[in-house]
Symmetry: C2
Subunit: 236 residues, 2 copies
Amino acid sequence: MPALEVCLTPELIHLHPPVGKTVVVTDILRATSCMVTALANGVESITPVASVEECQVLQHKGYIAAGERNGVQIDGFDLGNSPLSYLNEAYSGKKVAMTTTNGTLAISRSSGANTILIGAFLNLSSLIDHLSIQTDDLLIVCAGWKGKASFEDTLFAGALVSKLFPIYDTDSDAAVMAREVYEMNQGNLLGAIQKSSHYKRLKDLNIDDDFEFCATIDKFEIVPVLEKGVLVPSHR
Amino acid sequence: MPALEVCLTPELIHLHPPVGKTVVVTDILRATSCMVTALANGVESITPVASVEECQVLQHKGYIAAGERNGVQIDGFDLGNSPLSYLNEAYSGKKVAMTTTNGTLAISRSSGANTILIGAFLNLSSLIDHLSIQTDDLLIVCAGWKGKASFEDTLFAGALVSKLFPIYDTDSDAAVMAREVYEMNQGNLLGAIQKSSHYKRLKDLNIDDDFEFCATIDKFEIVPVLEKGVLVPSHR
């Protein structure tokens, strides 16, 4: 039986070496919710990069530049960090370059993994299906907020643990805690997300529709996978 | 209103600078449970040290040497890490030098705080009383296990958050999560502790009485405080 562990923040990744594992990166508000929505709406690929400058270089090459710092769209970028921007195939066929405060860092810190997948409530069941038929040990990496654990990412990690528990083993206390937080809140995910400090930081930006969208389960049937540094839909 | 935050492991202490705060250090299995029990049973003082060698130096000066590595008593030491050793005033009037895998490290990483207090379920209400009449910001430092968050320490942090919430403010997601884990498990603390990976590591040592003891609320009315590097009962 493969093992499962939860890394509550990229700041603890040295205690959870990704080498040889399948990693699921999650940043519910809002990077991985964006990635799932974009690829489900026809975006050709997403290149996650760490810095604004790298994004700008790709923008000059014709990429759509998307990203935020502290929740706010970066000056000169085409898009911020709202998943709603990608609906109705608005950017179908385009390549996106993306940088965010926490989510893209979580992806870069996961390098060395056998496979890096992207998870959000929006693609929960598709991700569960994918993880139910693979046999590598699983590491769930929560993006958190500037190094600290975040409620909404732990909540999502707990959803994965809750649904995968019969087929994965774990000795990760973080996984047990995440599972309990999810199972206590599964009846009201939006309400749960509103307990997070990230919600309190972002709510003045008037993005209530984003919160509701990011708390929606199974809107899309897609599992983004990192291939040669670029996120594309998995064909598994 | 003072603020409250939870540091899930000493590995994240750089994100929670202790300077100017009151810190509560907790290591339920079993360092802080030992400290509370020892001082409540007449031990004069406890000197927490990081290394086995420092403990041995103090042992040569007449201190009782107590400590463990990976749960097991250190060769040549007088005591391991069982709180039961200190009952019935067995070491009353003695000075103890103590080193443990995680607990003493959590104390040393908290240096710079205004005040460092020691918490366990054994002294929960006394600690709550103490924290109810102080006005510094509060940082709860969980000792964890070798850098990772641990279930039982998070559970205790959650007990503090749950009881202090009306009089402290927080924007710490770790505090919100800890509170939920505690409130979900408060009816069966021993059962909760048995979910932890630490329990699974230690259970082969046949220390079931220790687990039950460490899950007992309010056995002692004492709040250990660090004064000049030495733990003594608070006289507040």
